[in-house]
């Protein structure tokens, strides 16, 4: 989280290097395709399709991945021998875990079914790491998408006649043991997000003990002048030197004439409520709902978003006159806000 861009991009290059490498090599299904698991699946899904019952039953095609799952105990026995999970895949996950992306959620599943699976079929599977995304921020948190593609095969029927091809007796025997080539029965592309869970919201009790500081603005060379003005209790509006247009919030160039040259004018502090909302929910740390957030039209003509204070939140109205004030929100931070002027008519 504290790592800068350089650190993050270095991580991405290392993650990216795993693209094309094996995720699973020669994985073997824990159980052959079987009627009880098919029945459990159909019961859970509420699926009463007749094709999944009786002597000629097939497995629901969408069960494809289920036959490759390790289950509660994983692929027991010699772990890597059965799960087939490659060291490359383990390393990729360790890298992501180490970077704080410890949680996982599946986002995409694309399956193709070449022939139905039937009870007795022994499932084999191989998978490759297709791609690792750049760092993405989602509602759940920030992380990387990892896409794998799995080929699911079924062990060939042992050919009773044997494969006695060629004169070399030893080679022929090995061929019989290997039986026929496994048959490709389906493909399974799977995308997961490995992410750092967004910070847990502190419990109410913890919150009242130690108030959260207000979120800090990002100050850069394009808006530093505005915050310097706030520190001096002056609300500064940018003015284009080229065409004289006022602009707010601060921007590097003029939207009207594209001139990068600007100076400032100090706002008189008078304004009116152009529009507003009252925030009841959700509560954010450092804020105490309900409170009014307004788009204030300054006397100079530009508009800015801020809080209306000094009047009850439910008395704020469009057109209400307001006047600039500077509110100390915590020990080291002041913000420009607007006092609602009641009694002066709206």
């Amino acid at each position: 989280m504290s790592g800068g861009d350089g650190v993050a991009s270095g991580l991405y290059e290392r993650l990216k290097a795993y693209e094309g490498r094996s995720a699973v090599t020669r994985g073997v299904g824990r159980d052959p395709v079987n009627a009880p698991m098919i029945r459990h699946w159909c019961e859970a899904m509420g699926d009463t399709h007749p094709a999944y019952r009786g002597p000629d039953a097939i497995a629901p095609p969408t069960m494809l991945q289920a036959w490759t799952m390790g289950g509660l105990s994983g692929h027991s026995g010699h772990h890597s021998e059965h799960s087939g999970r490659s060291t490359a895949y383990d390393e990729l996950f360790a890298l992501l875990d180490g970077a704080g992306y410890t949680a996982v959620v599946a986002t995409d599943c694309e399956q193709e079914y070449l022939r139905p699976l039937r009870p007795g079929d022994r499932v084999l599977f191989d998978a490759v790491i297709e791609s690792v995304s750049e760092r993405k921020t989602t509602k759940l948190g920030t992380g990387h998408f990892v896409t794998t593609r799995m080929d699911v095969r079924v062990e060939g029927e042992a050919d009773e006649g044997g494969h006695g091809r060629g004169p070399d007796g030893a080679a022929a025997a090995a061929d019989v043991a290997a039986a026929a080539e496994p048959e490709l029965v389906g493909t399974h592309r799977f995308r997961i997000l490995k992410y750092a869970p967004a910070a847990k919201r502190p419990e109410r009790a913890e919150r009242s003990e130690k108030p959260e500081p207000r979120p800090r603005p990002v100050i850069n060379r394009d808006n530093a002048g505005f915050w310097e003005g706030v520190a001096a209790h002056r609300l500064l509006i940018q003015r284009c030197v080229g065409c004289g247009a006022l602009r707010f919030p601060w921007l590097p160039g003029c939207n009207a004439c594209a001139s990068p040259e600007w100076d400032t004018v100090e706002a008189s502090g008078e304004g009116t409520v152009y529009s507003y909302v009252v925030l009841h929910h959700p509560p954010f740390p450092a804020f105490d709902p309900p409170y009014a957030v307004a788009l204030v039209e300054l006397a100079e003509g530009v508009r800015m978003v801020s809080n209306v204070v000094g009047v009850p939140y439910d008395e704020v109205r469009i057109g209400m006159p307001v006047r600039l004030a500077f509110l100390r929100v915590d020990e080291e931070w002041e913000l420009p806000v607007f006092n609602g002027l009641v009694g002066s008519g709206a």
Partner: protein, 133 residues
């Protein structure tokens, strides 16, 4: 079956039992699909449905429709889904489908499953229509 045909919607109550039964039937023991406390530690308000169950429900929705409206010999060739808003206990998901293309014995159906939070699943299912033989 023609492009533009709409499938009747299927309403699925998202119970805790469905989420847990689906996870176990698909052999998915990730704690977020059965343990609410551990799910919350990972930033989720509750347990949520796993992708294999969603996949199974989409498959059921399509094959039930095909069996009822076309015939018993239709088969799934391809199911491609993307998950959005999670299916949490107490919600209801409504699956809807629209036939987007029919080419000979192949047809494509666009599926959307919406819950109280938004689109839980969007996807495309390719089916082989039963050749009466």
């Amino acid at each position: 079956m023609r492009a533009g045909d709409e499938l009747p919607p299927l309403e699925i109550p998202i119970t805790r039992t469905l989420i847990v039964a689906g996870a176990l039937a698909s052999r998915d023991y990730q704690d977020v699909h059965h343990d609410a406390e551990l799910a919350r530690e990972k930033g989720s308000p509750d347990i949520f449905m796993n992708i294999l169950t969603t996949n199974g429900l989409v498959g059921r929705y399509i094959t039930d429709y095909l069996t009822g409206h076309i015939g018993p010999h239709c088969t799934l060739r391809k199911v491609a889904i993307r998950l959005g808003a999670p299916n949490y206990p107490g919600d209801t998901m409504v699956l809807r489908g629209t036939v987007t293309a029919v080419d000979g014995h192949m047809a494509q159906i666009r599926v959307i499953g919406a819950n109280g939070l938004g689109h839980h699943v969007t996807g495309t299912v390719t089916v082989l229509l039963g050749a009466a033989r």
